[in-house]
């Protein structure tokens, strides 16, 4: 559904992404990497925020910059979210509905559904400014799923969420991934383990691994000689990235 072809991104002299190629169909993909690995830059390129120096992002086999409808099919949660803080949560969601081009007649239903998804329906009348950090994060997730987008790009969605909300989010993603592409960028391996069938490991702007989660677990066995209990995704991730400067 969404693919990245030979994509490179440079800021000044620093090349942040090196010839990245990926193809994502329906399902949940976990994008794992250390701080500064290039996760956010890759997601921003995929959302159309950054123009890459080389390569392109394709949606339905067409470059996204030539597709007018791509933004309507996209749900995006940026790494830092905080929007129109003096509006109520409902008004902020209404604004996002309008921004996403969702017909006015559908907005109330879409907003109710999205706020229920993140357990914020009772906070709809409160100002965004007065919500806690975790609630603002959940509001960010809610705006991303407005309009039932076919592609969801979520950058650190669980940062700042308490354990019960993280569990709720994971359950929600399991529902969402059935009929759409969900790319979940994080450095919290447990979240990827719980929600995603596929993992992409990025390191130093290069893809180290892309494939099913089970294959990454096997990497732990092959490379590090993991013995004993079944290796976790974290074992696979660590064995893949250990020793790489």
């Amino acid at each position: 559904m969404i693919a990245v072809r030979d994509l490179s991104k440079r800021f000044g002299r620093k090349e942040v992404l090196h010839s990245i190629s990926l193809s994502l169909g329906n399902g949940c993909y976990g994008l794992l990497g250390a701080n500064g690995a290039g996760k956010t830059t890759l997601i921003r390129c995929m959302a159309g925020l950054f123009e890459p120096q080389k390569g392109e992002v394709l949606y339905a086999n067409r470059p996204i910059h030539k597709l007018k409808g791509f933004q309507r099919d996209l749900g995006y949660l940026p790494q830092v979210f905080g929007m129109l803080p003096e509006l109520t949560l409902y008004e902020m969601m209404d604004y996002m509905c309008s921004l996403k081009g969702i017909p006015r007649s559908q907005c109330a239903g879409e907003i109710a559904k999205a706020l229920e998804f993140v357990n914020l329906e009772e906070r709809a009348g409160e100002r965004v400014r007065t919500l806690s950090g975790g609630m603002v994060r959940r509001a960010g997730i809610a705006q991303a799923i407005l309009g039932d987008p076919k592609v969801l790009l979520l950058d650190e969605p669980t940062a700042g969420l308490d354990p019960s909300e993280r569990a709720r989010f994971r359950n929600g993603v399991r529902e969402l991934k059935r009929d759409r592409t969900v790319l979940l960028s994080t450095h919290i391996v447990e979240d990827v383990d719980a929600c995603c069938d596929n993992v992409i490991v990025i390191h130093g702007g290069r893809i180290l691994f892309s494939g099913p989660s089970d294959e990454l677990r096997e990497v732990a066995v092959r490379r590090a000689g993991h013995k004993g209990e079944k290796p976790t995704l974290e074992d696979g991730y660590l064995s893949l990235t250990q020793g790489i400067a």
Partner: protein, 209 residues
């Protein structure tokens, strides 16, 4: 229009600053005038040019702030519906502001008779100030400096440097069509600035995240 309404609502009390200036500060200042004299059209012209254009860019710059320096920026860029999103905002805000100015000028017309040459002049000057704020904020990716420039320009050229060719303001009575020559030039410069801002919006905005 819905988004514009919500963006204005997000400004909370600050949104009332331009209406306060237009409907309270300006008329009261004109009526107060020098002690012991009737309100004069010359004073009305001076105060209108001092207050109206300098507060024209108030709403636009507060809205541009969300686009330049708030955490909302990424989403506003990702989901913007056209490449001229901000340009159309500036035009809508200018129209809204001039509508309010027109209401004040209906009152001035009841005091001084024909005031519409002065109205045309402040409309052109207001467009210039919005265009200046719009293009500067896009070039600098910042709204604080354009806000300072806005008030500094109005104060310096209206109160101190009156005869500079860079001055968009006119000292006079605006009693005939000849007084519209300078405002027409100001409007033309405003259009050029708006087009420059529009080009900057198209070319620079996306790349500068």
């Amino acid at each position: 229009m819905r988004r514009l309404y919500l963006e204005l609502k997000n400004q909370r009390l600050y949104v009332f600053v331009p209406p306060f200036v237009l409907f309270a500060l300006l008329p009261l200042s004109v009526l107060a005038g020098p002690q012991g004299t009737d309100p004069s059209f010359l004073l009305c012209g001076t105060l209108s040019q001092l207050f109206i254009p300098s507060f024209a860019a108030w709403w636009p710059l507060f809205i541009l702030k969300e686009y330049h320096s708030s955490p909302a920026r990424e989403l506003l860029v990702v989901h913007r519906s056209s490449r001229a999103e901000l340009f159309s905002r500036m035009m809508a805000l200018w129209a809204l502001y001039i509508l309010l100015v027109a209401v004040v000028f209906v009152y001035f017309a009841s005091l001084f008779g024909f005031v519409w040459y002065l109205f045309a002049a402040v409309a052109a000057q207001s467009m210039f100030m919005i265009a200046l704020g719009y293009s500067l904020s896009l070039l600098l990716q910042n709204t604080f400096i354009p806000l300072i420039v806005n008030f500094a320009y109005s104060s310096i050229f209206m109160l101190a440097v009156l005869d500079s060719p860079l001055n968009i303001f006119t000292i006079g009575t605006f009693s005939d069509a000849g007084s519209l020559v300078k405002p027409a030039t100001v409007a033309a410069v405003a259009v050029v600035l708006l087009l420059a801002g529009y080009q900057a919006e198209r070319r620079l905005y996306r790349r500068s995240m």
